[in-house]
Amino acid sequence: MYRKHSFFRALWRHAVLLFFVVFALFPILWVISASFNPANTLVGQRLIPSNPSLDNYREIFTSEQYPIALWIKNSVVIGLITSTLVVILTAFAAYAFSRFRFKGRRTGLFASLLIQVFPQMLAAVSIYLLVLSIGRLVPALGINTHAGLIMVYLGGAMGVNAWLMKGYFDTIPSSLEESAMIDGASPFQAFYMIILPLARPILAVIFLLQFIGTYSELILASVLISSSEKYTLAVGLQLFIHDQYASRWGVFAAASVLGALPIVLLFMFLQKYLVTGLTTGAVKG
């Protein structure tokens, strides 16, 4: 399909690609530039700031009213704990779906998927009431606690995640465990010592997807968390910038750069898994 190009054909292609490179990069560069612009406003910003400074970044770490650095930390901690627990719960469930035959397997697999497409918006009301009553029993899991929020996120462990992981487990030949079990390993040991190490790529993908999802989650976090020092970045940042673009643009830009950093780093770190995970796992379905 692809032939060697004449000079003009190549030029045309590069022109189109460069256009999209500008499209993709411009907002990112513009925000990075704004984060170093001490003026802290949208007004008269240039791509190369005339007198760059770190004032905006300093503001993030020192502001008492808007503890943005703390919000980023909260989001990262909540994201890491949630994703770790979700990967563990999902791995157990996916192993059962992949390796055992039992009553309700097919129904369970499909129902867990269907249930997860239910729009959670209104469920926020009932989840709030639920967490309120759990909080009466165990105050540490109640309203306005990170533990309570993490618990709520664990509800999403089944569903697409379990499906993706089950698809991957299916590709690992079961003869590996069978031989281990002949050597006296229990099914749990076979799962723990043979399947899990082999499934590292899909564990990484689920971890990454769950981390991004938790990090960006807005509705439940804003319903369940009420005090400013416990906000996640998604909740805090949108309250911080809402209709204040003229006066808070610089600090917001610095917060965006720092706030995007954990995801960008994780993304680069796990990218090679992600591309295979997204294409093999998902396409297999």
């Binding site: 949208l42 029993l137 089944m158 396409v283």
Partner: protein, 505 residues
Amino acid sequence: MEVGKLIKIIFLGVLNVVFIWTALFLYSSQAYWVLLLLLLGAALVNFVFISEKAYPYRYLLPATFFMVLLVVYPIVYTVYISLTNYGTGNILSKEQAVAQLQERSILDTEAGNYAYQAYRDGQGQLHFVFTSPGGELFLGYAGGLTPVQEGDPRLVELEGFTELTRADLVRATNEISALSFSLDEGRQLRMRNINSFGVYRQQYEYYPERDELLDLETGTTYRSVQGYFQAPDGTRLTPGFREVIGFQNFRKLFTNPQVTGPFLRVFVWTIQWALLSVGCTFAVGLFLALLLNDPHLRFRRFYRSVLILPYAVPAFISALIWRGLFHTELGVINQILKATIGSGVPWLQDPVWAKVALVILNLWLGFPYMMIVCLGALQSINSEMYEAAVVDGASTWQQFYHITLPLLMVSVAPLLIASFSFNFNNFSVIYLLTRGRPPIVNAQTPAGHTDILISYTYRLAFESGRGVDYGLASAVTLVIFLITGAITFLNFRFTGALEEVRKNV
């Protein structure tokens, strides 16, 4: 093996301790239904961990537990709410509403006014002397009234306290007006104005056996009708209460023109939005993938790694950034437009431009994903096909249309459908960029030109200035679920995933 068994026993023991502790708590707080559920759950857990037959369920139990508690239960609750009138004006339970109404009282004008003096003792407590219209004296203290005669020693005692002056009374109005003194059965003395107290009596009496509320003053009977106490002439008492009203929310959604109008507009835009999002991101993603898949292209790796970047920025941050870029007066996009073509665009104020802005934002957010997916799919297409096509004299376009596209679709189509479902409910992009604005004028429910169903639901439930309507919002939620559920089902039919499951069972 033995160690494994020991761990299992300890684990189960700890779980049961937690169960018992929770059960005791529930018992002491009289939550018997929850207690019953807990005991059933505990029995299930013990069964699953002791019976060898139930072995596979051990692996499913933890994730299932959280799913049932935090996903299934809220769904059931939403279904229930959709059948009620829960919302502003109908927030209270029936008992709470009845209690509030029974506390209402009306002034007995025939009983006349009671003049009073107020005194404050050393502890700051208030004492009152009331004079009835007939000239009888009453001593009022801590909610109780005692008839007294002139010269009673208790009256003399009052002279040792500080009598409140008029200025003091004005200052203490809030304190005094909160007091009430029981005169006799069903009648109380309460502050009427700064000079006098009046006789108040209970206005409504509730008869649970007939489920009616009687107005003791007029004799009107109020029947409990659809969340309100309603008189025969149709007058309703407020507050109303929460009650199951059947399918009325759904009926309202589909037949009341003032509700249906905005709902349909929102619905149509939701479909357009999901289609446009998938269409644009897929078109651009596929186009770029085709360019990048060309082995003769220089700087491929550079292009690829740069074009993927938007995907790595959290979407909520991107949306907020773009909101700044689209800012009508100060945003860089309008600065550029003004510098080049002379005038800016009212991005977030005009219904059409707001939609354009949303599609541009979603294109930026979504094309890298489509590009990755298409690149993966293109690489799996056998190059011999193209060689055969070239031998047959097919043009580049024919090759694309007859080979690339059909083969690509096999693996990419399910992802496109999933992406459609995702964007159908893509709340955060809409909420963070436009908040559904600009508003549709003359709509009875709060709706905006860029609201999609899910953000419309959010407004109905949480944000309306005219009061919230959880019942209607829940009904819309179920409509959304029906649609996305059907799409998901079809998608899995389509990809044969269900069949694969069936085969394995």
